[in-house]
């Protein structure tokens, strides 16, 4: 996925507290607005970022987010990579299921975030950590709604 060359400007943000979550949401919104994402797309992207950043904080024991603007031809997009070095996720299929939770939330974090963006990639190794990458394109194709009933 995402066989495009990213712009050089990747921003890295720490995720270590709930103040960081607020900062992540602000920075993602700001970057998405600058790239020309509409209000609904911005809201979906920021919401997905908030879910994933909270996963990084709660399940991964903290980590960081890389924000990368993308360009292919006339298309503009945004890639967000959430990295942690926490315990990892043993059963990815289970973790992606609506309603599955170990963290006291509603269990919509991963599966919900996936529905809000155009691209979703997930890599987790027990004992080593988890990397979740999402991407969205300005006025791109509708989200594939993978996992939606």
């Amino acid at each position: 996925m995402m066989q495009v060359s990213p712009d050089t400007a990747t921003t890295s943000l720490p995720i270590g507290s709930d103040a960081d979550l607020a900062w992540v949401r602000q920075r993602v919104r700001q970057t998405a607005a600058e790239l020309g994402f509409g209000l609904v797309q911005q809201t979906k992207l920021v919401t997905a970022a908030s879910e994933l950043a909270r996963n990084t904080l709660v399940h991964g024991g903290g980590g960081h987010l890389e924000i990368t603007p993308l360009t292919t031809g006339p298309n503009r997009g945004l890639r967000l990579t959430f990295l942690d070095t926490g315990p990892g996720i043993r059963d990815i299929e289970q973790a992606m299921t609506d309603g599955f939770t170990t963290g006291g939330g509603l269990g919509l974090g991963l599966s919900g975030a996936k529905r809000l963006v155009n691209e979703f990639d997930f890599d987790s190794r027990p004992g080593e950590g988890t990397t979740v990458t999402i991407a969205a394109w300005v006025s791109g194709l509708p989200s594939p709604r993978a996992g939606a009933g």
């Binding site: 709930d18 103040a19 609904v40 809201t43 979906k44 919509l108 974090g109």
Partner: protein, 132 residues
């Protein structure tokens, strides 16, 4: 703004209008602030004469599953303490996102604005009471 990215946690004010508690959420809400609000509202209902709670979220730019859960829990806790809760003024982009996220929050009563929420709570045959 409720506390900046670098600010401390400023509690959200809970106003009393007659027997209604009115809470206005604005901008970025830290997780800790939201949890504090849940406690504050619960205590206010338990101590006072509040029969209803209106939460104005017209200034809220995103609701993720954490804040959604807090809102749902405030409503269920209030119900257990004999008070009704109406969430007012959700932005269209937030509603679209919540629906796509799969977070439709059944049991959470909504109104388009604070005035309608007040009317809803004032109505003796309010659908809120019936839990529809």
């Amino acid at each position: 703004m409720n506390g900046g990215p670098f600010g401390g946690l400023t509690p959200v004010p809970v106003l009393a209008l007659g027997d209604i508690l009115l809470v206005t959420l604005q901008g970025e809400l830290h997780d800790g602030t939201a949890e504090q609000l849940q406690e504050d509202i619960t205590h206010r209902i338990a101590q006072g004469n509040a029969s209803g709670v209106v939460i104005d979220i017209s200034g809220v730019e995103i609701i993720d599953s954490f804040l959604g859960r807090i809102l749902a829990e405030i409503a269920s806790t209030a119900r257990l303490l004999a008070a009704r809760t109406v969430v007012a003024g959700m932005r269209p982009a937030v509603a679209i996102t919540l629906a796509e996220l799969g977070l439709t929050l059944p049991g959470l009563h909504t109104a388009l604005n604070t005035e309608r929420a007040m009317d809803l709570l004032a109505s003796p045959r309010s659908p809120v009471q019936k839990g529809t």
